[in-house]
C-alpha cells in the first residue's frame, strides 16, 4: 500500500535579497528590509515528503536512517550556518525561500534514490511557508 512519509529538519542561514540588475530604488521597493546590505538570518524548517509502497518485510516507505543521512550530508551540511548569497546555488538566483525550496528539491531529485520524492516544504518563519513538488499539483 502506498503511504507518504514526511520528515522535518531545521537549519539556520543568512541571506540578502538583492539583484544587481535593479536600481537601488527598485531593490528597496521590491525587497524592503530584506535588501539591507548586511543581510539577516532565519531559522528555516524543512519538511521533505517521500512516498512509496510500504515494504512488507520492514513496514517502511524508506528507512529513516537513509533519508536522515542524505539530508544531513547533502543539505544541512551545505546550508546550515552559512550565508546563502555566497553559495554556488545562488550565484545567479536571489536566495528567496522560493528559490531555496526549489534548490533543495533539485538536490533530492538528483541524489536521493531510496523513495519517490513528493515535495519539499519550507518555513522561513512561523508566519510563512513555501512548497514545491517539481511543478506537479500538491496533494492535500
Amino acid at each position: 500500500m502506498k503511504a507518504y512519509l514526511t520528515r522535518r529538519y531545521m537549519f539556520s542561514a543568512s541571506h540578502r535579497l538583492h539583484r544587481e540588475e535593479m536600481s537601488p530604488q527598485e531593490n528597496i521597493a521590491t525587497y524592503g528590509k530584506c535588501n539591507n546590505p548586511y543581510g539577516h538570518g532565519h531559522n528555516y524548517a524543512l519538511e521533505i515528503t517521500v512516498s512509496g509502497s510500504v515494504d512488507e518485510t520492514t513496514g517502511m516507505v524508506c528507512n529513516l536512517t537513509d533519508l536522515d543521512g542524505f539530508v544531513e550530508r547533502e543539505i544541512v551540511e551545505r546550508f546550515d550556518l552559512q550565508n546563502l548569497n555566497v553559495l554556488p546555488e545562488f550565484a545567479r538566483d536571489v536566495p528567496t525561500t522560493e528559490n531555496l525550496c526549489t534548490a533543495i528539491y533539485d538536490i533530492l531529485r538528483r541524489g536521493f534514490r531510496n523513495a519517490h520524492l513528493e515535495k519539499v516544504r519550507m518555513e522561513e518563519t512561523m508566519m510563512n511557508s513555501f512548497e514545491y513538488a517539481g511543478g506537479a499539483e500538491i496533494r492535500r
Binding site: M1, L5, T49
Partner: protein, 136 residues
C-alpha cells in the same frame, strides 16, 4: 465538497522486529527501534473526512459521532498499549508509523457512513508523520 479534520492523541509503545531476519539484520535495519523491551511515543492522529455540507445541520459530519468512532475504534484499542502485543494488526506486521496509519484507516473506513474518509495522518513525533489516502 468540504474537508474536515479531527485531531486525537494517544500514547503507545512498540518495537520493530521481523522474525524472518537474522538478529544482525534486525539490528542493522531497525537500529535502536529493535530493542525488544520497546519504547514509546505520544502519537497525534489527524483524521480528514470529505463530504457535502448537509443543508439542514450545516455539518459535513456530526463531530460527536466522529469522536465516538475515533474513541471506540482507535483510542480504546491503542492508547496506553504495547502495539506489538495488544493490537491484533501488529501480531504479524511491524508497527511502524506507516503501518499504523494503514491500520487506523482500515479500522475507520467501514465505520464512517456520513462522510468519506480522505486522509489519515499519524505523527510519531513533531518531526515525523505519515499520510495514508487508502491507496493500494
Amino acid at each position: 465538497m468540504v474537508y474536515l479534520t479531527r485531531k486525537a492523541e494517544f500514547s503507545a509503545s512498540h518495537y520493530y522486529h521481523n522474525p524472518d531476519f537474522t538478529p544482525e539484520e534486525n539490528q542493522r535495519i531497525f537500529g535502536k527501534c529493535n530493542n525488544p523491551n520497546g519504547h514509546g511515543h505520544n502519537y497525534t492522529l489527524e483524521v480528514t473526512l470529505k463530504g457535502d455540507v448537509n443543508p439542514r445541520s450545516g455539518f459535513v459530519v456530526d463531530l460527536k459521532q466522529l469522536k465516538e468512532i475515533l474513541n471506540r475504534e482507535v483510542l480504546d484499542a491503542m492508547d496506553h498499549r504495547f502495539l506489538n502485543k495488544e493490537v491484533p494488526e501488529f501480531a504479524n506486521r511491524i508497527p511502524t508509523t506507516e503501518n499504523l496509519a494503514i491500520a487506523i484507516w482500515q479500522r475507520l473506513a467501514p465505520k464512517l457512513k456520513a462522510a468519506q474518509l480522505h486522509r489519515v495522518r499519524v505523527y510519531e513525533t513533531p518531526d515525523l508523520f505519515v499520510d495514508f489516502y487508502g491507496e493500494a
